[in-house]
Symmetry: C2
Subunit: 354 residues, 2 copies
């Protein structure tokens, strides 16, 4: 039995929706403005990490990420009738916090490369990289403060600050849960879902909620966007986990199984552990208890995953969350264009190949 290939046939060719292109120039410029300081060398490190300069501080062709979080934030602001401009400080803060968490993740996992470039600690050593991550985190706070200068009243600015603080703490708690799952073989699907709802979901949820709060003074609408974001968080992470096992094959033709080699407690393995029985269950337990997973082990795990159709189930689960995401916004008044855009973005998250 092969995994359901047609279910995600769009995956390999899914291109970034236009929505991302619309906001990109504004976000990119605002981020550069915020990291333009030259008084302390650590800003060179941050500009390097953002992909704007090389290790010597010389400009290089910029690498642009998707910018999912800032895009969601600006979209929500516009969708509820606000000017995207007004939410720009929040959008930049979200992207910086996301990158801060990656800088510290690289240290925790001792990863020496990300997106084909050396990580901060691999270039400048752990102490400076740790400090640079902390700096980016606090620059995010400073940027968020500009909401007031942009015209948002104090009370709503404080709500925005509170939302980001709350989401950020939840993200950190999720990172802790993820670390505490390492080496355990008894992680159930509920544990896993709770972990990703914090680690990944909190900031995505906050992106839409922040945009809605800044764009309109209506708590019910903000809650709807928040619920939408919570569901999108699952869509994003489950798709990420699918790509973590089968993604390389789709985009580069490389052998599959990256996350299996790393023994990551991601959706596929948690699902396989729960669903497999008898011999398969014993095999999984044996492999996840060994120090080093070898290639025959990876092949065994992939076979077991096929037998319980992990990939099909994962996609169905993500698709169900995608429905919840769009349903959450059903009662919110928005233009047909805006509704089409969030539908397109949701579909993209479900089938994206990178």
């Amino acid at each position: 039995m092969t995994p359901s290939p047609n279910l995600e046939a769009e995956g390999a060719t899914a291109s970034l929706p236009d929505l991302f292109q619309r906001y990109r120039p504004g976000i990119a410029q605002a981020m550069r403005d915020e990291l333009a300081q030259d008084n302390v060398g650590l800003y060179d490190m941050l500009r390097y990490y953002m992909g704007w300069v090389d290790e010597q501080g010389r400009p290089r062709p910029a690498m642009e990420g998707k910018g999912l979080r800032p895009t969601l934030c600006l979209f929500a602001c516009e969708a509820v009738g606000g000017a995207a401009e007004l939410a720009l400080p929040a959008a930049v803060a979200l992207e910086f916090i996301h990158n801060f968490s990656l800088i510290h993740d690289d240290i925790q996992d001792l990863d020496e490369t990300r997106h084909g470039r050396k990580t901060l600690w691999a270039v400048w050593g752990m102490p400076k990289a740790l400090v640079a991550g902390n700096a980016l985190r606090i620059v995010a706070d400073q940027v968020l403060h500009k909401l007031v200068a942009g015209g948002l009243e104090h009370k709503r600015a404080l709500v925005a600050v509170g939302l980001l603080t709350e989401a950020y703490l939840e993200m950190i708690e999720g990172q802790y849960l993820d670390l505490s799952f390492e080496g355990r073989h008894d992680i159930g699907m509920d544990d896993y879902l709770e972990m990703i709802s914090r680690k990944t979901g909190a900031l995505i949820r906050c992106s839409l909620a922040l945009g809605a709060v800044i764009g309109a003074d209506d708590p019910i609408t903000a809650t709807a966007f928040r619920d939408c974001g919570a569901a999108l968080g699952y869509v994003f992470q489950i798709r990420d986990d699918i790509l973590g096992v089968w993604g390389d094959e789709e985009t580069t033709g490389k052998p599959v199984g990256a996350d299996i080699r790393r023994k990551k407690n991601s959706y596929p393995v948690v699902f396989a552990m729960e669903r497999s029985k008898g011999q398969d269950s014993e095999t999984l337990n044996r492999i996840y208890q060994t120090e080093q997973v070898d290639e025959p082990d990876v092949a065994s795990v992939l076979e077991i995953m096929e037998r319980v159709d992990v990939r099909g189930h994962a996609h169905e689960s993500a698709a169900a969350y995608a429905d919840v995401a769009l349903e959450s916004l059903r009662s919110v008044e928005m233009s047909p264009q805006a509704r089409g855009e969030i539908e397109g973005l949701t579909r993209f998250l479900l089938v994206r190949a990178r």
Copy 2:
């Protein structure tokens, strides 16, 4: 020539001013309330770091730090006519941020003990310790948010949030400068003073400024307290640097020279490098370029420091900053009791033995 012993004769017996005792119970209780969460294991790590529980989470006789920053904050609030209660969230936030920075410092320096107890990373590993530090940092932000619930108007609460954010970024920049000084022998006194004004001074300055902003709506008064705090930051750090070289001898009778062995770019060595000439200068340069400083080296450095009277000059410099600190508050109206208290606190910082 011996170092001027009488200059700081009070040092060994300087006891904590009553001011610290007055606020301690309130601060201690508020800190415990904020870290009472039990949903995620990382709060056990934080309670351990604060000295309230052991590695297994069992209560232990609490270790109480001085609580300098929260004490300064509550003092300033009361001195300008506010209720100390109102500034309690800011006081707790300051102490948490201070401890957050220590948790990450321990990781950066690979220090396995602090105050005679194992550091977080030494017990739980680096990844979890890094995350726990980040969590404490964000709990601080959440606590600060309670200023609004406590009755502070939104605008002033935002000013408070902005002050803490600014101070925090400066502290991080100072940590970066400190790291970038490592291994260099060309650090002048100006570089050193700029570094400590950020690394140590920013948060101490912010402690007094926050208290003043919360206690009274008067920018001129807030600026005076800010200036006082900036000067106190120098007093605190220069005294810390004196203790880093000669402190053990005073309190425990152990051999002096701890910071010399660690080749720390602190006040005594920066001063000695600038002032020593000829043979002494060459000796210092040779020693600070060797991989490992041995005991005869430590003795040589101490002798050179005596010849240029480093200790006397350091104390005089700190004493001058202490004068500036008190002078900054000259124009601020406050009760004779309050003025006596800040004078006592300043004197304590100048001669403290721990």
